[in-house]
Symmetry: C2
């Protein structure tokens, strides 16, 4: 056989994170590696109830048959109402489509917009799996820095000027993966204005939107979207459960036909019983209380990791201060290579992920590490953070 | 906003079937329109049991967390064993990946192989949703005829000669959608030999494989695949339930990495609870009995529709004789336009789908109609078939 795979397959790189995620499987290791939600937040009893309810209901045959491409209608309606109330989204102008996780929202958005050679501007560091999706559509990626107030607006404008074939800006404005940084309102508005000025689409990836536990609420960029150029996606992975593979995409109605046809060409629709159960949890239980408990879970765990790190890190190490979500980033001095730090951490029983796992070029040295504090026990969070804190001192002072 | 969607979006056409599927929603209409499984085959009680079992189990946290890209391991193992036993698949050389329905298998296969301008050879008529998937990758489609013994081998070789940039042959060898035709063993082997001779991939789409109710079992083309060039896909939609959105893709191990990375770039993995429940039904109940009952259901319904048609159709109308699956095709004389026939059928209370719904150019006249006999009651099947039979006489004899 001499037949060659499509060229796009040569652009997709294996995940740098994966090797650390695999290292994290070693028994006894404390893991800050995987970007997973806290299992304590799964509404397991409610799931049981609503799966059985669905299968006992009069509509069981339609719940098991091919379903609506757009999504299970009561869930679609619930989410539209909630997003209107919470963020002021305008569903006269927009529509909402269920997708099979936020990843599929990025795939569908890419399929709609990206041609070979188009430029995607992205925060860097960012969620590297999305880099791969953009690369699968043979886009060229251009990174711009992000700091504690959000994406660097000046650098973004420079990148837009330098790349007139930019089609899309990819941003995670809230509790960003991997930094934990959140964009302030001004930055969100400025980024939207830039998108209008340079006529590009914003793909706003907002999976942690519900997990704010400190600071003032901020509206998504989508809430400023008078021109219909923001594709907004969020996920049920962090509020229901990742294994349901459910998320949603909110787009201006004039693009709805494209989302619809892409979804038909991908998996037709997302699994219906998972949508029914999610709707049950949202509509028929105290969902606000469920969200508050999740926020409290992440607030407590973030405090534990921050307090333990602050007690033990070398004074030259900086930390991000998340106001929501599940990530914190440690910024090591330039003398310390992040990959080296991570392997030494594993030797001492704690695994986290080096910044290279979130860089456009995963082979260049980085000096930051991501800690995800959502899945370990409180005790292990403190213990793991102290081990890493001490490791910063030992490495910086030449003892490791 | 002046920004343009990607050119691929201009190649994807709206479904011709959809308008008839929508017409089928009119209350009181007898529907042979949708290619849906019979709800009588859903294992609803078993589903209830296994959803609850999953959520009560010790592994509940991992069943709700992000799961394996390849699929829930016990289900993957079950399917590998079953395919080895039933069809002689070789899992020393191949591997199996769970996907989110057969549609996603076609999307993933296209993503791996197809470049802009590549040719895909497909049976025509065939499942038009797949035409759209290939078009989304900007492939050029070339149709070859199919008859009661399977794809036309000579026409396929001519198409291969005429299109040296052919990358892929798409075939539904068993109980094809829309014709109900099944390829005999010789054709399967000959098609595989052609694929080897012209160095192309075969995408073997086999969602009805389990639903044979007459004639001798035939092995999938994949079972002859010594060179590893057959991508084999089947679905759980027809044996468990469509709304689970589960299927699988069997590929030579050297292409497994590509399936894996495509799946990561699409929806990461398929919904885990649906996989757990499917595995439960397969491994922990009498699955062979479940399959036999489904086969019997389709056998009975196919007999009902065929007997009623044979009693009533005009002698110049030909019928396919399905030995499995859920489709039968009526071949009208050339004087009758299929779209005209279908609209007249709707006027008389029965909806089916014209051949144009399965043609590469859906706007050209066709003279065949697809009847899907799986979802209506026995009584309605007979009544509906008699109405259509009488309509053939009335139209051919100039009374309608």
């Amino acid at each position: 056989m001499n037949i060659q795979v499509a060229d796009r397959m040569n652009h997709i790189e294996g995940s740098v994170i994966r090797q650390f995620a695999e290292a994290a499987l070693k028994p006894g290791l404390i893991s800050f590696a995987n970007g997973n939600p806290s299992p304590a937040t799964y509404p397991v009893e409610e799931m049981k109830k609503f799966f059985v309810e669905a299968l006992n209901s009069d509509e069981v045959n339609s719940l098991l048959m091919y379903g609506s491409v757009q999504g299970y209608p009561p869930l679609v309606e619930f989410l539209k109402k909630r997003l209107t109330k919470k963020f002021g989204f305008d569903f006269e102008k927009n529509d909402l489509y269920m997708v099979s996780g936020g990843t599929q929202a990025v795939d569908v958005t890419s399929k709609i917009w990206l041609e070979k050679g188009d430029v995607v501007i992205t925060e860097e560091p960012s969620y590297a799996s999305c880099y791969n999706i953009f690369r699968a559509y043979e886009a060229k990626l251009v990174g711009v820095p992000i700091n504690e107030t959000g994406i660097d607006i000046e650098a973004t404008e420079e990148a837009l000027k330098a790349n007139p074939n930019c089609k899309l800006i990819y941003t995670i404005p809230s509790f960003q993966n991997p930094t934990g940084f959140s964009a302030i309102d001004d930055k969100r508005k400025q980024l939207y204005e830039l998108a209008c000025k340079y006529d590009v689409i914003i793909l706003e990836d907002d999976p942690y939107a519900e997990l704010r536990f400190a600071g003032e609420p901020q509206n998504p960029i989508k809430s400023y979207d008078t021109e219909g150029r923001v594709f907004y996606t969020s996920s049920l992975s962090k509020v229901i459960a990742p294994s349901f593979r459910l998320g949603y995409l909110v787009v201006d109605k004039r693009f709805g036909q494209y989302v619809n046809v892409c979804k038909q060409c991908t998996d037709v629709h997302s699994n219906t019983l998972g949508q029914y159960v999610s709707w049950g949890v949202m509509e028929k239980t105290d969902y606000e209380k469920h969200i508050r408990l999740a926020q409290e879970e992440y607030r407590r765990k973030s405090s534990l990791v921050i307090d333990a790190l602050k007690r033990t890190i070398h004074p030259s190490v900086k930390l991000s201060t998340p106001t929501g979500g599940m990530f914190i980033m440690m910024f090591l001095p330039e003398s310390i290579d992040a990959v080296d730090f991570v392997w030494k951490g594993i030797d001492r029983g704690v695994v986290c992920v080096p910044g290279s796992g979130f860089a456009l070029d995963g082979h260049k040295p980085t000096h930051s590490v991501r800690l995800c504090y959502s899945t370990e026990t409180d005790e292990n969070i403190v213990k793991g953070a102290e081990i890493l804190g001490k490791l910063t001192c030992d490495m910086i002072e030449g003892r490791a």
